[in-house]
Subunit: 342 residues, 2 copies
DNA sequence: TTGTACGCGTTATCAT
DNA sequence: ATGATAACGCGTACAA
């Protein structure tokens, strides 16, 4: 079955390819009569321009790359959802958000970012949590490909950060004010193995926790901290087991590693007959949808995910379309949501 | 900053464009020496082939379209996740799964499927829940673009279905055997408004429910059924309110509209002090991740989502790569997962 | 409005 | 056995 190209339309309409192209791209220099005729034939023949050909000619990709580490973590997919939602709402780049995932290895990340840049797979790149090298940023700047960082800040980029320090500080402070004495932290790893990527949020949250404890004169030591790697439900269970061995009179946990992990803690606690919040208070992080549906509903630090996604997308678009002159660096404050686990 | 093309590589390596291309595509008719030289220059100059150009020349899109209705429903995104996971695992089409969403309007759906077909945005299409018209299928067949249906079956396509009838039958049967007397059903709408798409699963599940009730001689009427549109948590709450008005002695609900809705029911029941499962037994559908984390953990009909995604993806790939001669139609059986709500 | 160069690889055909 | 030449894929946009 013969494929229909712009040439076929042109021939049948008795005009040139250029005219057809101009009609399809809404140029106004075409006579109404011609336009009508072309459009009717386009519809009649079910003609749609060949994507790759169109993009090649336009020197665009009409896509935005979304680069993140590969985790099942709800936070990542929620951010992606928020970006897609925004695209859908303003009706731009609707099918043009392409998720790429590194596996947390630095090499892979660099390679991937280069590939996106030089193969022109995208007209802008949004990078979540990962931190590109200075060298990469330079190359992006030279090629004038906008790059938007979420959770990191570098010059040569646009950036959106949530104040992780404050989020952790607030949560910890609240537990202290609730007169908890043995407060523990579950956190992402802050000292990843060689050639793995660091997660800046884990470091900031740890600092927020420690400062709150110190400023309000609560004892703690490194024993009070458990580190987890993959942000899973199972790891939450294990973390609680570990704490119970080290600190039998534990009475509060701030789970900076996310609500999913916190849910694991709750599950395990319930298996042991530990009462929440009486015996053990818990605050999670992210405020995922399931948090408020739990029994008991989980207190959590909410990141304004919708807003982050919206901002990232809008900056990307503005930047691609040349409306952004200077670098944009935004910090958003998180919110402590109190429910029944504290 | 000048963009680097295959020509630049060729010149610098003292060979022709064709040779560079052949090296990059692993043709074996290139001398090792030449190959080495080309590769080293490619790396040195950070050359990556231009995507659109490559795809245009190859007459491929290297993408798979995933078409579904736009819902926040976990089922949809879980299927998509499963497909992407599979792509990742076998390392094919990793960034090539493009989600498209109709808004449930028939017109939009047809238009979208045509556009994907004729603009060659994808080399295969996976359609979830939606049912294309015969006409569209014919056009796909003519153009030899493989189309894979999930939850529908038509000739001219490949298809993967989960046995919704059995799923509903099992769940209902179980409630009956637990000696429940006033069993109600929450279901997706089976008679959608004009020019909206029907959801075949809702119809099949209703039939499974009704047959189980009839075969086991349990009374019920249309009063025992609530229909919901958007599969949300909130709708679950409302559905329970409605039931309580109509059927005060309700003692079981099979929520064929999914676990999220079932979670709404549970929440509302707990607000009223209704004991689960003593006063009210509940079975959900889909067995989403949150189901087993709830308190009490939710009984549910599990759809083997991983497997569905894997099958859909594999059929798409096999079909694209010409390894599939006949149509493939697969039916998968669901599984009843019993937890604490029954 | 039209003719045509252009964007950038791929691959079939030809040459050594 | 290797590699070069040139046609091709299909729109877009500028000069005429």
């Amino acid at each position: 079955m013969k494929k229909i190209t712009i040439k076929d339309i042109a021939k049948k309409a008795g005009v040139s390819k250029a005219t057809v192209s101009m009609v399809l791209n809404n140029y106004d220099r075409i006579a109404d009569e011609t336009r009508e005729k072309v459009l009717s034939i386009v519809k009649e023949m079910n003609y749609y321009p060949h994507e790759s050909a169109r993009l090649l000619a336009k020197k665009k990709s009409e896509a935005i790359a979304f680069v993140s580490a590969r985790f099942a973590a709800p936070f990542i997919s929620n951010i992606l959802d928020a970006i897609e939602q925004r695209a859908f709402n303003i009706n731009k780049y609707i099918h043009g958000i392409i998720p790429f995932s590194t596996r947390n290895e630095k090499e892979v990340k660099e390679e991937l970012l280069r590939k996106i840049l030089y193969s022109r797979k995208a007209d802008a790149v949004i990078v979540l949590t990962l931190k590109p090298s200075e060298e990469i940023i330079k190359e992006y700047n030279q090629r004038k490909l906008p790059i938007i960082l979420i959770e990191n800040e570098m010059s040569g980029t646009h950036s959106i950060r949530v104040n992780n320090y404050n989020g952790a500080y607030m949560a910890t402070e609240h537990l202290i004010k609730k007169a908890r004495k043995n407060i523990c932290l579950i956190n992402g790893i802050t000292h990843p193995p060689e050639n793995f990527d660091i997660n800046p949020t884990a470091i900031e949250r740890k600092k927020g926790f420690e400062d709150a404890m110190r400023n309000l004169n609560v004892n703690y030591s490194e024993k009070n901290i458990e580190y987890i790697e993959n942000y899973t439900f199972e790891e939450g269970k294990i973390a609680l087991d570990n704490f119970l061995k080290k600190i039998p009179d534990i009475d509060a946990i701030f789970c900076a590693a996310g609500d999913l992990v916190a849910m694991g803690v709750i599950k395990r606690a319930q298996e042991f007959g530990i009462k929440i919040p009486d015996d053990l208070a818990i605050i999670g992080y992210d405020d995922i949808m399931a948090a408020k549906l739990l029994n008991p509903p989980l207190s959590s630090v909410r990141q304004p995910i919708e807003e982050i996604g919206k901002l990232a997308f809008d900056i990307a678009v503005d930047s691609m379309e040349g409306r952004l002159k200077e670098e944009k660096h935004i910090t958003i404050e998180p919110e402590l949501i109190l429910r029944a686990t504290t």
